[in-house]
Subunit: 391 residues, 2 copies
């Protein structure tokens, strides 16, 4: 079959707050081929991604993403790999294209899975999807007390792992940070897995990160995530050599498999975190998962948005039984929760299972999403290149 | 002073061809502060970059670029460094932002130079701008004969160095490629410096690149540029270990200093090529130049567009006397040539000198550019967020 259409839907909460919560807007992707429909999501700024889909060509290596997808043959996983490569070549100098490709690639896997009546992970070569241990992914509370209460709430919900991040962490004194981490550990109890996400707050300042190592070690934190910018390899490696049992995690900013591989090879990571909605879709994420497995670094999804994105992010390592942890956002804005009719919920024993249904196994709730749809129009030389499509 | 305005001008040739010529469109940036004006250029897809300037915020680390620039204090080079860092933090998850920042950062240096009545290189700490040896940067001819004629023309113009790239090179047989390279060497004569640019044609296929090494060595090619994708570190390093006197060049795809540093540290490069219009502006390019110098890798500009971009790209290594080569595009489309009133032309002895004038030392020819201006309007929720400004 041939790819007939690509539609981008920009969705947003009525109000977007200046906080580290990526679930406040979304870019939903619909692809159709021969009457079949696939859905994906870009973890990306919607408007620049829309522009990269439909912009005029600048030169042979700076084409709009749609030019390398529309009309392409889609009959097998190899076709998706080929289309992925084509976009990278033809849009090499269009930076935003990698994020845009990510949602399209994901939608292609969903579409192909539905055509073949197979879950995506099976198309990727996994016999079955192993159950994962979701960690509740939340922002730090503004105070130690609020963090303590959040942590207790997470434990009460049955989670066996949690990650606290962003907010005030790293912004004030070392003692302030210590108080937050101690509160998280106390609220979570001694048994649970605790991770901490610094959200790149220290840039490449190893000293600032180093000053927090002791409390992280004392509180038996499993990983310190993103102390530095993605790609600041030297800072990562230096800290990793000193962090002892607290391993470093990072890589969510990778928008190519090469960037993730560099973090694995030269950053001293214990955990590589990949966002399917950024790295180049399921195709690229699967490559990173294979590479990580070969190098003994643990692959973990990065997901802070909808359950459609969550399902997509779990497929690339669904069959890797030793990589049990998975990020599970628990503070979703209504937009992100209402994105899908079905949801992925932890079992009573605190584990998560991918659906056996075809494709990603989740259906966008287009009726519910109607109210979040952002009306956009882009006109170039008097010609409308983009107008918000209808569901 | 405070930054009052940022204007983006999308310029394009009436027809954009599907060839590797980046001078067919442009994104010109104007920044004003307290009555002063600075100009820069993003080496980027114009429409997605415009969208990244003005898009609605997605979350605290995914803000439009303008939000971190407008209203900021600009009194010293340290202010530009601070604004650069602010954009990176606040737009961390907005991929296109790095290209967008690049043009703005460049315009800020131009503006500050004009205020201080100093060329930019002096603000960067260089006493004087050393003369460079421009290499004529052209596409391969479609046939060996056409390549031979191009090379003879370049020699006749007095250039002492040339680089041939893209076109058919790498796309057909090894013998076809050999014929092109031999023709380039023959036309250029034995004395001139010859470089070859593969334009990432082999992805990460080391074997394909290896098969071309012999003719490159036989023709005494100084560097083989971009055999692989930016960031395919392992492929670069493997080939570099076998390429002997033919050194590898690459890095133009770097949109952060970290990516360029990784290419220096782990790619086995002899030459790191930095595009000021992509890497994060003059601020980031200067950091890469310093890093390259410390690591013994030669810094070279990447420039395939206007002389405004050329001046910007030379400033970061203007004072590094040992790094003599510079890219000099000689097949500019009229739009790129007409971008500036003044031009940077090689002297009779084939060397190039940066102007002593304040800032970048070049004035955009806004009258001439009027005819290339692309009319764009972006509307979100009924509100016009961008409309092509007037010069």
């Amino acid at each position: 079959m041939k790819i007939d259409s690509i539609d981008f839907f920009y969705l947003s909460m009525p109000e977007v707050l200046d906080i580290g919560d990526g679930s406040q807007d979304a870019l939903l992707v619909r692809v159709t081929a021969n009457g079949h429909t696939g859905w994906g999501e870009c973890e990306a700024a919607p408007l620049p991604s829309i522009a990269s889909l439909i912009c005029p060509m600048s030169h042979s290596a700076c084409k709009p993403v749609a030019a390398s997808v529309l009309g392409q043959t889609l009959d097998s996983p190899q076709d998706i790999v080929r289309i992925n490569r084509l976009v990278r070549q033809n849009s090499m100098d269009l930076l935003q294209a990698d994020h845009t490709l990510s949602g399209i690639d994901t939608a292609l896997w969903d579409l192909l899975g539905k055509c073949c009546d197979q879950p995506v992970y099976r198309l990727l070569g996994y016999e079955r999807a192993c159950s994962k241990t979701p960690y509740a992914s939340v922002l730090f509370g503004d105070t130690p007390q609020k963090t303590l209460e959040k942590a207790r709430g997470i434990r009460a919900q049955g989670f066996r792992a949690a990650k606290f991040g962003w907010g005030a962490f790293g912004q004030r004194s070392v003692q302030d940070d210590a108080d937050l981490v101690v509160a998280a550990r106390e609220g979570l109890g001694q048994e649970a897995i605790l991770c901490v996400d610094a959200g790149t707050v220290w840039g490449e300042d190893v000293d600032a990160a180093r000053a927090r190592l002791k409390v992280l070690q004392d509180c038996r934190v499993t990983w310190l995530e993103e102390p530095f910018h993605t790609g600041a390899l030297s800072a990562y490696r230096t800290l990793a050599a000193e962090s002892g049992p607290v391993r470093l995690a990072g890589g969510e900013g990778s928008h190519t498999e090469y960037m993730a591989q560099a973090m694995i090879d030269y950053g001293g990571l214990g955990f590589v975190q990949i966002d399917v909605g950024r790295v180049g879709g399921i195709t690229a994420a699967k490559r990173v998962a294979d590479y990580a497995a070969a190098k003994g670094v643990t692959f973990v999804n990065h997901t802070f948005t909808s359950h459609l994105a969550l399902s997509a992010s779990l497929q690339p390592y669904a069959g890797l039984r030793d990589y049990v942890l998975c990020e599970y956002p628990v503070e979703l804005k209504p937009l992100a929760y209402e994105m899908t009719v079905e949801h992925l919920s932890p079992d009573a024993d605190g584990t998560l299972q991918l659906p056996e249904r075809p494709g990603l196994g989740l259906t966008p709730d287009t009726d519910a999403l109607q109210k979040y749809l952002v009306d956009v129009q882009i006109t170039v030389q008097g010609k409308i290149l983009y107008r918000t499509p209808r569901f």
